[in-house]
């Protein structure tokens, strides 16, 4: 590795890690928003993944690839349990229900010795790295690009546009909603585990309401027309505080201002173009 790259990575290692982790979290938000649902449970699912991975690595000594599989399954099961009763909810109500779950979990972590209480868990070996994080992000992006262009992607887009009309053309709404929530939970869990295994320390505070809103803002800023939008939003919102560092105490104010302006003037996000637009070929089929 050239020396300058080495230096760069040494200085900015944690930033490079968070860019990738936040990119994955943005993808997990994308899945839910892309079908017109609003979940504020992404931080909670991330937390389930982080704690599951930390406990498996620290207490069981499970091999890392196996841990990564487990951290996708546990939050996905959580999403199934939450999803079944909350599926009938939509919009703001699903968001509220998922906030509630996040808070319950946060209190559970704080009050359970197994989870290290308010101090969290430390000394997690640094088993993940740039390759793992960006490998997962790349796989996620590629899969979603294919999904967005598929029949499933079209159903998701129809749901986002108008749920009632999507049902009227025969889209199985409950299955799509639950499936979306489960997939999104699995990705968030993966992001949480990778994060835990690069920062070597996790605590309940990182998976609260603030984090949920930050993840949502990745997708809102970037736009949900394609999976690239939320990832772009995550990159910008992760870099922005660093770029604004000279402003010192004002940087969060400016950060917030930039988000407000972006949402006001670009309601469909920075990347407004849609994936998988169908051509209007005369008599042409759509797939």
């Amino acid at each position: 590795m050239p020396a300058f790259l080495d230096d760069f990575l040494f200085t900015y290692e944690s930033l490079v890690h968070s860019l990738g982790v936040n990119g994955l979290l943005a993808l997990s938000m994308y899945v839910v928003l892309a079908m017109g649902q609003l979940s504020l449970g992404q931080a909670a699912f991330m937390g389930i993944g982080a704690y599951t991975s930390a406990l498996l690595t620290l207490n069981v000594g499970a091999p890392f690839p196996l841990v990564l599989v487990a951290v996708m399954i546990t939050p996905a099961l959580g999403a199934l349990i939450i999803g079944a009763p909350t599926l009938r909810l939509s919009g703001v109500y699903l968001a509220l229900a998922t906030i509630g779950v996040g808070e319950m979990l946060r209190l559970l972590y704080i009050n359970t010795p197994l989870f290290g209480g308010a101090l969290g868990l430390s000394g997690i070996p640094r088993l993940a790295g740039i390759i793992w994080i960006y490998g997962c992000l790349a796989v996620g992006l590629i899969v979603f690009v294919f999904v967005a262009r598929s029949r499933v992607g079209r159903a998701m887009e129809a749901m986002r546009e108008d749920e009632l009309a999507a049902g009227a053309i025969g889209v199985n709404l409950p299955r799509y909603k639950l499936g979306g929530l489960v997939v999104s939970a699995a990705i968030a869990g993966l992001a949480g585990a990778l994060d835990a295994h690069v920062s070597s320390f996790i605590s309940p505070a990182a998976y609260g309401f603030d984090a949920a809103v930050t993840i949502l803002s990745f997708a809102l800023l970037g736009g949900i027309g394609s999976p690239f939008g939320p990832v772009l939003g995550a990159i910008i919102l992760t870099l922005l505080p660093e770029a604004l560092r000279p402003l010192q105490d004002f940087r969060l104010v400016v950060n917030g201002l930039i988000i407000v302006l972006a949402v006001l003037f670009m309601p469909r996000g920075l990347l407004a173009w849609r994936m998988g637009r169908l051509a209007a070929r005369p008599g042409g089929a759509s797939r």
């Binding site: 029949r151 079209r154 159903a155 887009e157 129809a158 546009e161 108008d162 009632l164 009309a165 999507a166 049902g167 009227a168 053309i169 025969g170 889209v171 199985n172 709404l173 409950p174 849609r274 637009r277 169908l278 051509a279 209007a280 008599g283 042409g284 089929a285 759509s286 797939r287």
Partner: protein, 239 residues
């Protein structure tokens, strides 16, 4: 009314919260017939539509479509059986193009050639849409959106087409055109249920009519007979 019943509704009761909106309604739609359900605002017409298409679970009664009980089935299952609703208020996918809206109408179909064939049919019926395939549906006028909504429903080749207030909020010329299209569909043998506030246009096109008032069927009969009923003339036809 002749012919075997494609849809047979008996004792249908629907409601929201504590109140029943539809109180034991019987409907029968023969295969190939155009039936209309007319009634004033708030009589419960749209509620019946929601019940028929599986969006609202009936509290009592049964809905039998082609020998299958469909009451209580979720909306997508009902759609799969061929009961397709063109929802009230022209719910087209407004950010998507017209071509995409039509393609979504055939979402249940997994046969590109058949989809292309149906699309040709829809575009021949609605030449206005053919000129604007690449435009977003939201940019269409109200009447064009209604055409798109009907076109999208036709893309699934419905066995029973439910049209919820197709004339709602349209200019008179468009209303005429929409009803001409409904007339064509009927001539081609499609089974249609039209829910309408515009009673005179609906009675003109339909074979059989039901008049809904406060959640019960007040009058029913062949459309011409219902149109001549003094109560209907007084209340709905402005006679």
């Amino acid at each position: 009314m002749s012919g075997a019943a494609l849809l047979e509704v008996s004792g249908l009761t629907l409601g929201y919260g504590r109140s029943d909106v539809i109180k034991g309604v019987d409907l029968r739609i023969a295969s190939g017939a155009a039936v209309t359900l007319i009634g004033a605002n708030g009589a419960g017409k749209t509620t019946i539509m929601r019940g028929l298409s599986g969006l609202l679970k009936p509290r009592a009664g049964s809905i039998v479509f082609d020998g299958h009980r469909i009451d209580g089935l979720p909306g997508h299952r009902v759609a799969r059986l061929g009961v397709i609703q063109s929802p009230e208020g022209r719910q087209v996918f407004s950010n998507l193009t017209i071509a995409e809206n039509l393609a979504l109408g055939a979402w249940l179909l997994n046969d590109a050639r058949e989809e292309a064939r149906r699309r040709e049919g829809v575009l021949a019926r609605f030449p206005r849409l053919a000129e604007r395939l690449d435009q977003s549906a939201g940019s269409l006028s109200g009447g064009e959106q209604q055409m798109l909504a009907i076109g999208r429903a036709l893309m699934s080749n419905p066995r029973l087409l439910l049209l919820d207030e197709p004339s709602l909020g349209l200019a008179p010329l468009f209303i005429e055109e929409i009803f001409r299209i409904i007339e064509d569909l009927k001539r081609e043998g499609r089974t249609i249920l039209i829910v309408e506030q515009n009673a005179s246009a609906a009675l003109d096109v339909a074979d059989y009519a039901y008049v809904l008032q406060s959640g019960v069927i007040e009058i029913e009969g062949p459309a011409a007979q219902v149109a001549a009923d003094p109560r209907v003339v007084a209340a709905y036809l402005g006679g």
